[in-house]
Amino acid sequence: MIDHAAAPLAIPEPPAKGHTRREALILGLFALAGAALTTGCASDKTALDEYLQKHFKDLSGDELKAVLARMEKKYSEQYGKHVSVSATPPLEGVLFGYALDLSRCIGCRRCVYGCVEENNQSRDPQTHWITVLEMDKEGGVNLQDANAYYDHETVPAPGKFYMPVACQHCENPPCVKVCPVQATWKEKDGIVVIDYNWCIGCRNCIAACPYGARRFNWGTPNIPADELNPVTEYLGNRPRQRGVVEKCSWCIQRTRKGLYPKCVEVCPVGARKFGNLLDPDSEIRYIIENKRVYILKEELNTQPKFFYYYGL
């Protein structure tokens, strides 16, 4: 038998290449700079600043402050109310993990819409970060024959069980590897994030994700102003623009402040569990140590930090 423990499980990151400008865009940039010079108007200045913005990780303290301020102003004007945009750093000594009890989930989709509201997903065109799959109890976990469009009077439907799927926050995320501009990466606390200002919309990550967890904004996202959650995070639930990819961020705007993700809070059956994998007293560790847990598509070695289990 091969002892997996002996092999390094955490694959080292490729050496940093430095965040080169997206060359295809440079041409456009010159064109825009020209336009801004000619007209010299304020909105073009904002657009120019947006174009000139560095990669998130290369921003200095003052630059980041300016970026956040620029965004707060833009979103606040757009939605007619104060919108905050923070960039809360990961907490020391924290590696997030998630568990979901398949024996309790009844497929009510409260999590789906709780997530939409908390994370400012587009209402029309519709974007959902969580997909709830319905499967036959007899067949077990069989993703091929799963149905996301079930529509019953009440759930659970007889003979069925439910499996919500969203970003699995892999330790070894294939989506990160294929991004040609490093617009998506894994943070120190394990959250896989996206910089919507750096994303070029090539959708390689969507093709690479084995869990179908990433969403592309084909159209301009649309959120009624009174429904916009004004507490936002740069790498999380701030409003997105057309042409970029988005996905679950484990409610980075909540969890980095110590709160549970929204889906955990709204789940009526208590099937969703979240916590710090490095804390032996957390519920997530209790579950891993006391229950039989599964990860999706284990054979791909993506090493999800999202665990499914049967609490019964």
Partner: protein, 199 residues
Amino acid sequence: MRIRAVRLAVAASAALLLTVACRPVQDPGARYGKGAEGAAKAAGTPATPATPATPATPATALFPVAPPPFSDGVFPCSECHKPGDKVNRVPHAVEFHEDIVLKHDEKNRWCLDCHDAQHRDKLHLADGRLIDFTESYRLCGQCHGPTLRNWKAGEHGKRTGSWSGAKQYLLCASCHSPHSPHFKPLQPKRPPLRQEKIR
């Protein structure tokens, strides 16, 4: 599979610890360039991992719980039930609380196994000790021990609030009617649009 998952977590933590250990101490604010404001904010957030929520909790310790889900106007019960009232202890149909139908091991159970005849605003344990409705999980735990243990650890049921700090527990009774505890079916929220319908 479980072993593997534990290993994964352990390997992941080891990797993280190594990263932390090998790196020069850095100001978390500096990395994201938040300056003094960011650092202060970071300091205000729970930087140290969770306060242990469960271990070695004595059976009598109180858990912070959401309020008992009484129907409007029914509590305090002593509005109608006075100490010293005559009580018919022989199981019988209770006409007044007509919506209450026992479907919970009912052949072996009667109202006053849980409710206290003389102190109607309390429940009592098998040994007669009185407990408040905010502690009803102790009543349930007499027969559902493993579930209670999982509940305390945050595995069964639900905790809200902070994963790293103060949490609120939902009482068993918030999800299970003590009288007919099977979890009631819910109406699901609407299905997602099919891809081809998204414009």
